[in-house]
């Protein structure tokens, strides 16, 4: 389980933040049995550096969503290990994973997943309410200002645009100061303007707050906002790209598809 065992090229741009915020070691995930067996993850080892914004990309069925689910403690590995900081999720039961998730993980979903009955402010505070923790009002104000929701806090999700809803979801992911924020196709349901706003905000969260972010996406434009892109195919890490641009990402993707 040592970091040196990773076959991937260690990132050279992670000097400050003090090691990996999340990592997978020989992660294997098998769905189904017998002939219907699918190896969604086939021995993935990867690290996500603290304070960095990392994108995971790959064609459909490459295992990128599965990897994220397992790292976030939403799903369990068949074998191998999933770590968040010093916490090994693989040895935990469901109850402990729930706790680990609560204390260490923030989520941004593709489908927003806001509670329709709560106002924007209440939705943002929800993880703290669930954990029974006090709201740090300064931090809350800072987050809300950063995502630009100041005057919309009293509104219900149905009164907000898709972009605004996703920014509420992003604020919700940040407010509990999680070790890692996982974002699952966060721009999938947004138009290009809203996408740009959200991604800009995520970039700032990493730069200004030192927030570790792991984002699954299939959009090279979205990936270009990240510090590093990890490419998956057929359940394996096949490539990485530091300081990506949209064009560079697109080229890698093309070659990946061609290689299959």
């Amino acid at each position: 389980m040592s970091a040196e065992a990773t076959p991937s090229t260690p990132s050279t741009e992670s000097p400050s933040a003090g090691g990996a915020a999340a990592r997978a070691v020989d992660a294997v995930k098998v769905y189904g049995k017998g002939d219907a067996q699918v190896r969604a993850l086939d021995g993935v080892s990867v690290e996500f550096d603290s304070g960095r914004f990392t994108a995971i990309m790959g064609p459909s069925g490459s295992g990128k969503s599965t990897l994220m689910h397992c790292l976030a403690g939403l799903d369990t590995l068949t074998s191998g290990e999933a770590w968040i900081g010093e916490v090994n999720l693989s040895t935990m039961n469901e109850k402990e994973r729930t706790r680990a998730r609560r204390d260490n993980v923030g989520f941004i979903f593709q489908a927003f997943n806001l509670v329709p009955t709560l106002t924007a402010a209440e939705n943002i505070r929800l993880p703290l309410d669930i954990a029974g923790r006090e709201v740090d009002q300064d931090w809350m104000d800072q987050v809300v200002t950063t995502v630009g929701l100041g005057d919309r806090l009293g509104h219900r999700p149905s009164e907000l645009s898709g972009g605004q809803q996703q920014r509420v979801a992003a604020a919700r992911a940040l407010v509990s100061r999680p070790r890692v924020v996982f974002a699952d196709e966060p721009t999938g349901a947004l138009d290009s303007n809203s996408s740009a706003e959200l991604l800009g905000f995520m970039r700032r969260a990493a730069d200004e707050f030192g927030q570790t972010i792991v984002m699954v996406t299939h959009d090279p434009m979205a990936a270009s906002y990240s510090d590093r892109v990890v490419f998956l195919a057929d359940g394996r890490v096949v490539d990485q790209l530091a300081a990506p641009t949209a064009d560079a990402v697109l080229d890698r993707m093309k070659s990946l598809v061609a290689a299959r």
């Binding site: 609560r102 989520f107 997943n113 509670v115 929800l126 669930i130």
Partner: protein, 842 residues
């Protein structure tokens, strides 16, 4: 989290309101019954406290046999009581039946309450009655009528009134009206008349006798001390001395016991309603949890524990339960007023006072309402906690359903366990209450078991029921059937609420019709007389003078009078019947299995088969029989019979006359002379009975119809009360349909977008509703028929099984129509969906 609970309740207010309504109705009925019962009890407490307000000690015949049939006292006891030191005043009275006949020639009734007459207590301070108009009765032919009785019969001072008494019907002049105390406590529940003392002794056949002596002390000793002194002087065999407080408490308690069956009876239906409501809560919460699966999974994903999600759902149920129960308690008052009005509507006047709210009513109402809601929501709540958090990330996620095999096994075990309990109850020899508790628990388990099994058959049955709709109803028919079939779990859970009501309706119908037929069969086999005479207005019997006037008719050969009364046998109070065996030979055949009428003479007894076998008695054995008057007698068993209509024991009339202070016939069997035309016979008996307007003269056919009518009347009452459970079930179906339509907003919008007309959308929902309703009713009919057949076979008293298929089919048709009704609101909603918005709904 609490905020989330409240917000989600507010967001779901309509569907939760419908759910709460079901609980509310149940709680209202239960608390209303309590309020009604408590008010009635309080009113009787007040009434008896009023009657004995000025009395300190009461001397009466002993209740060794039964409180309803006390032997009278010798009039000489009065003077001996007067002589006891510490006694200031004594007053002796007699009482008996006095049916007042109004100007139309009808008996004034209170719907089952007694028609009572008393000797007037005079100016004595012991007389609780006051003359409010006119004067006191002071000689033969004079009567004073209690105010409310007078109002009921439209009597006024100076009027002539005919009164049927133990000595026959006589004419009296109303000389005054009377009220109890200042008139604030009502004597309602009975008709009451007062007569001069000597006149009373004559008309109530109490010459030289007294029924009750009231005593006022001079204040020198306590009531208890005075009681003990009087007991010392006159106490002994057949005489009971008690303080007024004891007597009024005891009389009040006796009436409460007599009436407690009423509240128990009503409570049973309240609990059935709550049970049905539980199914609806269960169903609603299941659906809302499924609809919110993504949201709940999201909570899990962002760190809520399974327990927190469970608590969230349970808290919703708790709040709904509390609100519904509190409203239910308030509505309970209206129910109590309604029940009172209902009784008044049926002509049964009961004493009233301000509505009583006991802490017990609040406690039980809240406990039942909140408890049932929370318990019913528990399974959906736990299921919600099992949602994998990853469900929040998937578009097409649906809640996993349990395995069919497990459902089959668990449902089967629960059903069988219920059936076993029912079997135990029906074969049990234990106390009535124990049997009913077992029966109730068994039925409950069977319903739960059937509800668990129902999803297994729901889809194929819905396919079958929907076949004609799919064939004839075009696209909406096929879509409606498809909707009913696509979620068998939900369809059957919705339908099951109706199953309960339908099963109970079917069950009581089968039982009642079987009972009717059993009676009719018994009458056919046992009744040999041409005519039957009985009192329509009272269960307490009627004057033997009636039999006398029939006997005097030329057309009549013989009149067999049947009398009944309470006796003690082995420490139990039983009812004995008495006839003249020489006359009974020709009029009534109780289907002897051994012995016969010819064996019945003084000192002997005939026993009903079951009664005899329960006590290991057979011909040659003997029974110690304690009648109200005289010492216990050893009666030799000379015959055993099967008939249930005449009670458990038959003794010769001559022995009855000695053993009972009051002689009243309960029924007469009349035989005409050879060759007399039956119609002419009935005509002449009816003419002779004009003196006794409450007596009904019927031939065999009419008598059978009368019995059937009585059973049907009772059946009607039970239908009305079960209607409550059915209405709740209907609310449940409306609720589920509305939720389903809401859930399929997008799908219905799509259908509309591709050309389904709004009328077709409405029909589609209606078809689904009809299938669900008929499915529930059909299951209910099956369970009900099974309950009915088993019960009829187990109950010895019901020997003929009748399954009224026609009537059950009518119930099913009604259920189908109810389905159309239920679909009204949800169908309208489906039809009015704005197509574009519906398609874009998430």
């Amino acid at each position: 989290m609490w905020r989330l609970t409240l917000k989600s309740i507010i967001a779901q207010k309509i569907r939760l309101a419908l759910t709460g309504l079901a609980v509310m109705i149940g709680v209202a009925f239960i608390s209303g019954t309590f309020v009604f019962g408590d008010t009635l009890n309080k009113a009787f407490d007040n009434l008896f406290a009023g009657i004995y307000a000025t009395t300190d000690v009461v001397v009466r015949g002993s209740d060794a046999v039964s409180a309803e049939a006390r032997p009278p006292l010798d009039a000489a006891v009065l003077d001996r009581v007067r002589g006891v030191e510490g006694v200031a005043e004594v007053s002796g009275g007699v009482a008996g039946t006095a049916q007042l006949i109004d100007a139309d020639g009808d008996v004034v009734t209170t719907g089952g309450g007694p028609a009572q007459g008393f000797s007037w207590g005079g100016d004595s301070s012991l007389n609780p009655m006051n003359i409010s108009e006119g004067e006191a009765p002071s000689g033969p032919g004079e009567v004073v009528i209690e105010e409310q009785t007078a109002e009921r019969g439209d009597f006024s001072v100076g009027q002539e009134v005919r009164i049927t008494l133990p000595v026959g019907t006589e004419s009296f002049t109303v000389v005054g009206l009377a009220r109890l105390g200042d008139g604030s406590d009502s004597l309602a529940g009975a008709t009451t008349a007062f007569f001069d003392f000597d006149e009373s002794q004559r008309i109530f056949e109490r010459e030289g006798l007294l029924d009750e002596i009231s005593v006022a002390g001079d204040g020198s000793v306590s009531d208890e001390e005075l009681r003990d002194r009087i007991r010392e002087e006159v106490g002994g065999d057949g005489v009971q001395v008690a303080t007024a407080a004891e007597v009024s408490a005891q009389q009040s308690q006796q009436i409460k016991d007599d009436l407690s069956f009423l509240t128990t009876f009503l409570l049973v239906f309240g609990f059935i309603a709550v049970f049905v409501a539980a199914f609806i809560i269960f169903n609603t919460f299941n659906i809302t949890v499924a609809q919110r699966a993504r949201q709940l999974a999201m909570l899990r994903a962002v760190g809520a524990s399974g327990g927190q999600v469970t608590r969230l759902v349970v808290a919703e149920a708790f709040v709904v339960g509390v609100i519904a129960s509190v409203i239910g308690l308030l509505v309970g008052f209206l129910v109590a007023i309604g029940v009172q009005a209902l009784f008044r509507g049926f002509g049964a006047s009961l004493p009233t006072t301000t509505l009583q709210l006991e802490p017990r009513t609040i406690l039980v109402g809240l406990l039942v309402g909140v408890g049932v809601t929370v318990v019913a929501a528990l399974v959906p709540a736990v299921r919600a906690a099992r949602l994998p958090p990853i469900a929040a990330l998937r578009e097409d996620f649906s809640l996993p359903t349990g395995s069919r095999t497990r459902r089959l096994i668990v449902g089967g075990v629960v059903t069988v366990a219920g059936a076993v309990l029912i079997g135990l109850a029906l074969s049990s020899e234990g106390a009535v209450q124990q049997i009913f508790t077992l029966l109730g628990a068994g039925a409950l388990l069977v319903f739960v078991g059937v509800a668990m099994l129902a999803p297994l058959v729901a889809a194929p049955v819905a396919r079958l029921l929907g076949a004609p709709m799919a064939a004839l109803g075009g696209v909406p028919g096929r879509l409606g059937r498809g909707n009913a079939m696509r979620n068998p779990l939900r369809t059957s859970q919705t339908a099951t609420a109706l199953t309960i009501g339908m099963a109970l309706v079917t069950f009581v119908t089968i039982f009642a019709v079987s009972l009717s037929q059993t009676f009719a069969g018994e009458i056919d086999r046992q009744l040999k007389a041409d005519l039957v005479v009985y009192d329509e207005a009272s269960f307490f019997g009627f004057t033997p003078a009636a039999a006398g006037s029939i006997e005097a008719l030329d057309d009549v050969d013989a009149v067999t009078a049947v009398r009944t009364g309470p006796v003690r046998v082995d420490g139990d109070t039983e009812v004995v019947s008495a006839v003249d065996p020489a006359l009974a030979v020709d009029s009534y055949d109780p289907e002897f299995t051994s012995g016969g009428w010819e064996d019945l003479r003084s000192g002997t007894i005939l026993l009903q088969t079951d009664f005899a076998s329960d006590r290991d008695l057979e011909v040659g054995g003997s029974v110690m029989l304690q009648m109200p008057v005289g010492p216990a007698r050893e009666m030799r068993v000379v015959g055993v019979y099967e008939a249930l209509t005449v009670g458990a024991m038959l003794i010769p009339l001559s022995d009855y006359v000695e053993g009972f202070a009051t002689q009243a016939d309960i029924v007469l069997f009349v035989n005409g002379r050879e060759g007399v035309d039956p119609v002419a016979l009935q005509g002449s008996v009816e003419t002779a009975m004009e003196e006794y307007p409450s007596l009904s003269v019927q031939n065999q056919q009419e008598y059978k119809e009368y019995i059937e009518g009585q059973v049907n009347q009772f059946l009607g009452l039970i239908y009305a009360l079960l209607g409550l459970a059915i209405i709740i079930a209907i609310f449940g179906i409306v609720n589920t349909l509305a939720l389903s339509v809401f859930e399929r907003t997008r799908e219905i919008g799509l259908l509309r977008a591709v050309g389904l007309s709004s009328r077709q959308a409405r029909r589609m929902v209606r078809y689904e509703a009809v299938i669900v309703a008929v499915l529930g009713a059909l299951l209910g009919a099956v369970v009900g028929v099974a309950f009915g057949i088993v019960t009829v076979m187990a109950v010895e008293e019901v020997s003929e099984l009748a399954v009224p298929v026609g009537r059950i089919l009518v119930f099913l048709v009604v259920a189908a129509l109810a389905g159309v009704l239920e679909a009204w609101m949800p169908a309208r909603r489906a039809a009015r969906l704005a197509v574009l918005r519906a398609v874009h709904t998430e």
